[in-house]
Every structure is written in C-alpha cells, then in structure tokens.
C-alpha cells in the first residue's frame, strides 16, 4: 500500500517540476542565466545520485567520478560536432555512457578488491589517468579542449535524463541486485555468507554509476559549448562527493536536495567573487560539524512525509 502511495507522490513531484519549469521558461521568467543554473543543478543531481549509489548505498568509496563524467562528455561532444542533430546527441550520450560503463568495468575488476581508502585512492588515480589521456589525444585537442560544441540540451532532454536517472537508480536499489549491493556496504562478510558474489555486484554497481556519470558528462558537453580535461579533474570528483555527503550518504533525495541547495548558495555568493570560496568552505565545515550525517541522514523525503502522515493518523485515532 505504502509503496504505491510513495510512487504516486514521486511521480506527481516529477510531473509538477517538469510543468512548472516548462511554464516558467515559456513565460520568460527563466532567462539564459537561470537556465544555466538549472542545467548545473540537474547535472549535479545525476552525478551525485549515481555516486551515492556507489558510495552511499553500496559502500564503495570512489574519488574518480569526474573521470567517468569526462568520458561521457568527450564521446558526446565528438559525436555531435559531427552530427549536430537530436539523434546524434542521443547516440553520443548513450555511447559516452556505455564507454564510461565499460571503463568502469575494466577499472573496477582489479581495483574493487581493495577496501575503503585504498579503493578511493585507486579510483582517484584512475580519473587522473583518464584526464592525462584526454590531455594527450589528438582527437580531443589536448589541453585546449573542444569548443563550439552545438548546444542541443533543452529542458525536455534535461528533465528526461535527470528524472530517468533518478528513477532507474531508485528501481535498482529496490531490487534483488540493489539489496545485494546495500548488503555489501552493511557487512561484506555476511553478504558473502548469504551468497552475494560481492566482487560481481561491486563491479556492477560501479559501472552502473559510471554509466550515469557518463550521461551527466554528455549533458554538460551538449549545453556548455566547451570542454577541456581540466574541467574533470580531482576537484570535480571532490565537488560531487561533497554533494553526496552533505545530502546524506544513502539518501537519494538527500543528493537532490543538496544539489539544489549548494548550487543556490554558490549562485548567491557569486555577488562576492573574492569571498565566495571562503564562505563556501566555511559553510561546508559548519554543515559537517553540526550535521555530520548530512542533511537527510539516510532517510528519503518520502519516508519523512509518510511517517508524519502515519503519526498524524495515529494521534487522530487516539484522539477519536
């Protein structure tokens, strides 16, 4: 019963968001500048929710998410530079995501045997290697990067990719392989003991995360005209991790909330360019000091709403 209600609530929320933004764009309230903010938020949602799946839910600490993002960005950019059509974009996006997933698979197989911080540092190294490869390839134009990428992303594409990513990740987590991944995070020894092939599921979730990071990268390339390897360095991976932890490890809605909030704060601080990063870092430290488990902990917004409902029902019954 509760499950269906939650689903309906989620779909209603998605539909309302889509319609509201579409209406505001048509009315001209959302200009180019604010739409760019929305694009960044959506890309951050895709990146942080996929990293959350890998790190928060499955417990595999990755510091190389930006590496996968860059694969999606480059493949998509190279495709739509040649075929600047919606079909070209779709193919470029899927091709980039699949290549990212493939690289995730190849990198994951040897490295996911490592634990905790060792895995983190290995994934970091992997992302740096990817960056250096893009710096040196001819087709990617080295450090100068690719420019004049056709801008094919509009609100429809953006919404479809973001909502699709969230739904697929939520579906995955609420399934047998998803539960196996969560079990790995909870207790790897016990997970193996009940028959979970831990390496296989770690690799699965890792390349799935890479796939969505590739989607995020493709959207980036097809909106912001210009990409270069340094955009996808270590600090980008850290930015994504920050969103995941601030939102709450193991909470998808936490990643959404944190993507929006951190972007709003960052945009508001643009008025003070010199102080911006100082205030941002202070905010980060403050959030962690006062709420170490992140804004949402490991709860979902829908859970909170329903507990509130249930509590209200209970008190009503008791009152009556």
């Amino acid at each position: 019963m509760g499950k269906h209600k939650k689903r309906i609530l989620q779909l209603a929320f998605f539909a309302a968001t889509y319609l509201a933004v579409a209406a505001l764009i048509r009315a001209g309230t959302i200009n180019d500048f604010s739409f760019a903010v929305i694009v960044t938020i959506c890309i951050n949602i895709i990146l942080s929710s996929s990293l959350n799946m890998v790190t928060g839910f499955a417990g595999q600490f990755s510091l190389g998410h930006a590496g996968f993002m860059s694969i999606g960005a480059y493949v998509c950019a190279l495709t739509i530079l040649r075929r600047p059509t919606p079909l070209g974009f779709l193919l470029g996006m899927l091709g980039g995501a699949l290549l990212a997933a493939l690289v995730g698979l190849l990198v994951g197989l040897p490295t996911l045997r490592l634990r905790g911080d060792y895995l983190a540092i290995a994934t970091l190294g992997m992302a740096e290697i990817i960056r250096v490869v893009f710096l040196n390839l001819e087709i990617t134009n080295g450090a100068a990067g690719l420019s004049f990428i056709p801008q094919l992303v509009d609100w429809n594409w953006l919404f479809a990719a973001t909502a699709g990513t969230l739904l697929l990740i939520a579906n995955f987590l609420n399934s047998s392989p998803g539960r196996a991944c969560i079990a790995i995070q909870e207790d790897e020894v016990a997970a193996e003991a009940v028959g979970v092939n831990t390496l296989r599921y770690k690799v699965t979730v890792f390349s799935l995360g890479a796939f969505f990071a590739g989607i995020g990268g493709a959207l980036y390339a097809a909106y912001f005209y210009f990409i270069k390897p340094d955009l996808f360095g270590f600090s980008r991976s850290v930015d994504i991790l920050v969103i995941v932890v601030v939102g709450g490890m193991g909470s998808l809605s936490g990643s959404v909330v944190a993507s929006v909030l951190l972007m709003v704060v960052s945009t508001a601080l643009q008025a003070y360019p010199a102080l911006r990063m100082i205030l941002y870092s202070l905010l980060l430290v403050a959030v962690m000091l006062f709420r170490p488990q992140g804004l949402m902990g490991s709860k979902e917004v829908a859970d909170l709403v329903f507990t509130r409902f249930r509590r209200a029902e209970k008190t009503e019954k008791q009152g009556g």
């Binding site: 579906n171 995955f172 539960r179 969560i182 016990a190 997970a191 193996e192 979970v196 699965t204």
Partner: protein
C-alpha cells in the same frame, strides 16, 4: 550417505596452528554438535567450511564436490549456510530485506529488469516477499518484518540470523552458538525451533554450542575439539564419559578424579 566429509583439515595463521588434521563426517539429515573450550578452533572450522578462510591443508567435500579454497558465495550457492557467533545482520535494513537479500541467488531476474522493473521483476519480487514472510512467521518474527534489524532484541536477532540462513535454501546449516546469551526459557524455545526446522526443511545441521544441556539434548553425535584437534567423537552419552573431554574442559586435575 555422507553429505559432508572433512579430511585432514588444517589451518595455521603465521606460526599458530588453529586447526590441525581435523577429520569429520556428517550423514545426511544428522544433527551433530561441535564443542570444545574457548579458542579450540570451532569457529575457525566454520570459517574454513564456508570459505572465509582458505585451508592450509586437507579436503572439504560436500557430497562429491570439493569446497576447499572456494569463495563463500559459491559455497553458499552449493547449499551451505551459516549463522555468526557475533551476530552479523544487515543492521540498517529491515528484517524483511535481510531475508530477501539472502534469497537473491534464487531471484530469477537480471540487472536490466532490476533497473526497469520489467520482465519477471514483479512476479519474482512478489514470490520472494511471500516466502520471506512465511519464513519470518516460522521463526516468530512475522510482526517485525518492517523493523530495522538493528532494533530487534538480542534473541530476535539470533532468530533472524537463522531465518536469513534458511532463506538461502541450504542443505547443510552451520549454527555458531545460537543460544549464546539466552536465558533458559529462550534456550528451550530455540531447542524446539531447531528441532522443527530440521524436519521441515530436511536439513543436516552442525552446531557449535557451549550450552551443554542444549547440545546433549538435540545432537545425535558430538565432536570435541581442543587446541585445534578432534580429541573425541561419539554419542552424547559417550562424550559425557570421555576422560579426555573432561580433562579438556576442567583441566588436568579433574581428569584424574
């Protein structure tokens, strides 16, 4: 017919030999106890059986299948399930999901249907949920399905560990001190429960336990381990009389009495 045969099983950590030259055989459908003083190597035998450790030497066979050196999930898939002495539940998952996780080897859908919730996803999930609910009912946890495993009482957590092990559909169940920390009434309830599930699920069981009344009550045969070696085996009555066993438990002095 022997379902489990252990031959010359040894394990050493660095210079320390935890298990040395253990031979042990379980007949199909038996309930056998594995006892011994603390540090005798009982849990190490379980860890070797379930693939957590790789043996230094010896053989483990389930039917005709060699298990030594295999991964835990593989061994579980072949029908060996276990519980842990220091309860290892998925504490932040619900009770129901603990059991469903253990069913995942039998979930008949792949990663793609799990993403799209298409194909056999819905029917398989429905099926798993029904079977998990049945299992929880049988272990007296039916009304706790939606609670977090970490919030259960100690006794309930031990029961959930058994439910989770049963969910993997084992032929051989290894129980590591299931009655530890239970009071006599709870132990009695557990004794009945073990008796019941053994018949219902047609299981062979190997049981590590310190509670002698439980072991003597329900085990048909007992192996006694001391300093990593099997020092005695036989019926509960034999074991009770064995001087080496008394010595191992009570020390040299008592052995002479």
């Amino acid at each position: 017919m022997s379902i489990l045969t252990i031959q010359n099983l040894s394990k050493s950590f660095g210079g320390i030999t935890a298990v040395s030259d253990v031979n042990l055989a379980l007949e199909c459908g038996e309930l056998v106890g594995l006892i011994g003083p603390n540090g005798a190597g009982k849990t190490t035998v379980f860890n070797l059986l379930t693939g957590v450790y790789t043996p230094t030497g010896g053989e483990i066979r389930l039917g005709d299948l060699a298990l030594q050196g295999k991964k835990p999930h593989y061994i579980c898939g072949k029908g060996v399930a276990r519980t842990f002495q220091n309860i290892r539940l998925f504490k932040n998952m619900t009770v129901l999901n603990n059991v469903r996780t253990a069913m995942h080897q039998h979930a008949g859908y792949g990663t793609l249907s799990s993403l799209l919730h298409l194909g056999r996803y819905h029917s398989e999930e429905q099926d798993m949920e029904t079977r998990a609910a049945e299992l929880l009912d049988r272990l007296g946890l039916g009304d706790k399905a939606d609670e977090l495993a970490g919030n259960l009482s100690y006794g309930e957590q031990r029961h959930l560990e058994i439910a989770r092990a049963l969910a993997t559909e084992p032929v051989l169940l290894l129980l590591d001190e299931p009655a530890a920390g239970m009071n006599p009434a709870e132990t009695l309830r557990l004794t009945r429960l073990l008796h019941d599930i053994r018949q219902q699920f047609n299981l062979t069981m190997l049981l590590i336990e310190h509670d002698m009344s439980l072991v003597m009550n329900i085990c048909e045969r007992i192996y006694v381990l001391d300093y990593g070696c099997v020092i005695a085996s036989g019926s509960p009555a034999d074991i009770r009389r064995d001087s080496r066993v008394i010595k191992a438990y009570l020390g040299e002095e008592a052995g002479h009495v």
